[in-house]
Amino acid sequence: MTDKILKVKNGDVAGSVNEFLKELLKSGKVHALLVMQEVPSKKISFPVLISDPGQLNANVFAPVLPVSTASIVSKITKFQAAEKLVGVVMHPCQIRALVELVKLNQASLENIVIIGVDCLGTFPLNIYTDFPEKKIPTQFILDAFKNKSKEAEKYLRSACLVCKDPVPVNADIVLGLYGADIGKEVFVEVCTDAGKKLLDGIKLDSKDVKGRENAVKVVREDKANKRDEFVKKKSSLKGIKVLSEFFDKCVNCHNCMKACPICYCKECLFDSSVFDAEAYKFLRKAESKGLFKMPNDSILFHLGRMNHMILSCVECGLCEQACPSDILLMDVFIPAAESAQKEFDYHPGKDPEEKIPMVVYQEDEYVEVGEA
């Protein structure tokens, strides 16, 4: 599959990829890029939509995902598809989320060319901004990768530790790290015709790359094993008592829902007045129960949200990252996603043609459900 490589100059992977992206902009191959770039304070990288190659200082390997880039592509393309070609540089989990958003009619891929990046994992925001090591986070994680060291693992977000797939699927081109000697090269995989067109006339080296396929297989297996273990370990987090304790620090801010790429509703049911009630109903409930915790409907929010989006959950962990109470949401959401998606044999983000289970049905399925 891999046919091209990008030569790394002076051992500077991030800089060399930046030059490559600059070339895409300069040559007019893309009109704009959505890409991670360091903010002026240098504290963190955020997605920018950039059309001026002179100002491009992309940091595509920054181990941080402050917001969902899939949600940003949705924001840009929801009301009107892009008229000119836009390149979007994305993590694998965000490409999965984008595919789901397209299925949900919340984004358009017209004139969007997806540049996927192999993901080495990301750190929580505050670890990234106040990084305890001597190196900056990007250098640290790239060096750890180069030296085949596991020292970056202790900083990874739990979602990344058990990532469903750190290699992009459904991208037009992929900037590949796994299997590459990143002191010298980055793989450039061409996956679609749009990707081929994008690279047409862009100077890249061709090389017969052998290590890629196997390296990808190894990392996928490793992550799958870790995820299996995680699911096994956490699947005991069930039952009303355990669940209520799990969420007992929840302050009902709904940040988890706002950070989630799949929760796209403009007004969430749980932010609406649907569950508002007259004073007598609250008092009547207090009388019949003796007491209850306020604000109420906290578990209802979490299970209701889960019920609405779990089939499309791409396990990006942005919900957990957004929680001000440090509730480890992935502990509940990954096992729930695993079991619900298995039930419908559904794979979010995998195949753009695969229909979301709740919008299709077969007449002769689950007949036992409506029978005594």
């Binding site: 009303i240 915790k293 209701g304 019920n307 039930e343 049905y361 409506g370």
Partner: protein, 149 residues
């Protein structure tokens, strides 16, 4: 004697069941049961909805979390939905909801979906008797005791 009888009645667990019935079939079926004076247990509190497909699982969860011992969803027979495919979608949703119930630790048997037509008053009464007894066997929902949810 009379006093004693009252006491034992009071102690017996009476399941609270919330029933979402589709306007075109199950609700009419319940109506028929009523007008035909067919006896069925008063444990079900009926909410009329336009279609079984309009019952978002969140409303079922809400009923359960507010202390319902069981939830019943009644729709038209497969193929007979007034809106063509509402009940097929409701059925899929029920499959997903069962997964969520598992996370919540509630028995799947607390939520029923059944197809009852407008002419099946007898069927409706029968189903209500069945469900009431099934829930009675399961016992009261553990949710009532949980005040921190």
């Amino acid at each position: 004697m009379v006093e004693e009888k009252k006491e034992s009645k009071k102690n017996e667990f009476e399941p609270k069941i919330v029933g979402f019935l589709c306007n075109w079939c199950s609700y009419a079926g319940a109506d028929l049961a009523g007008t035909s004076r067919i006896q069925y247990p008063p444990n079900v509190r009926i909410i009329r909805v336009m279609c079984s497909g309009s019952v978002d699982s969140v409303y079922i969860l809400r009923a359960l979390l507010e202390g319902a011992d069981g939830v019943f969803v009644g729709g038209c027979h497969p193929g007979d939905c007034h809106y063509l495919d509402g009940n097929y979608k409701a059925r899929r949703r029920m499959v997903l909801l069962r997964d969520i119930l598992d996370t919540l630790g509630l028995e799947q048997e607390r939520v029923w979906i059944r197809w009852i037509s407008a002419s099946e008053g007898q069927q409706f009464a029968e189903t209500m008797r069945e469900m009431t007894e099934a829930i009675r066997k399961l016992g009261p929902t553990p949710i009532t005791k949980q005040w921190n949810i």
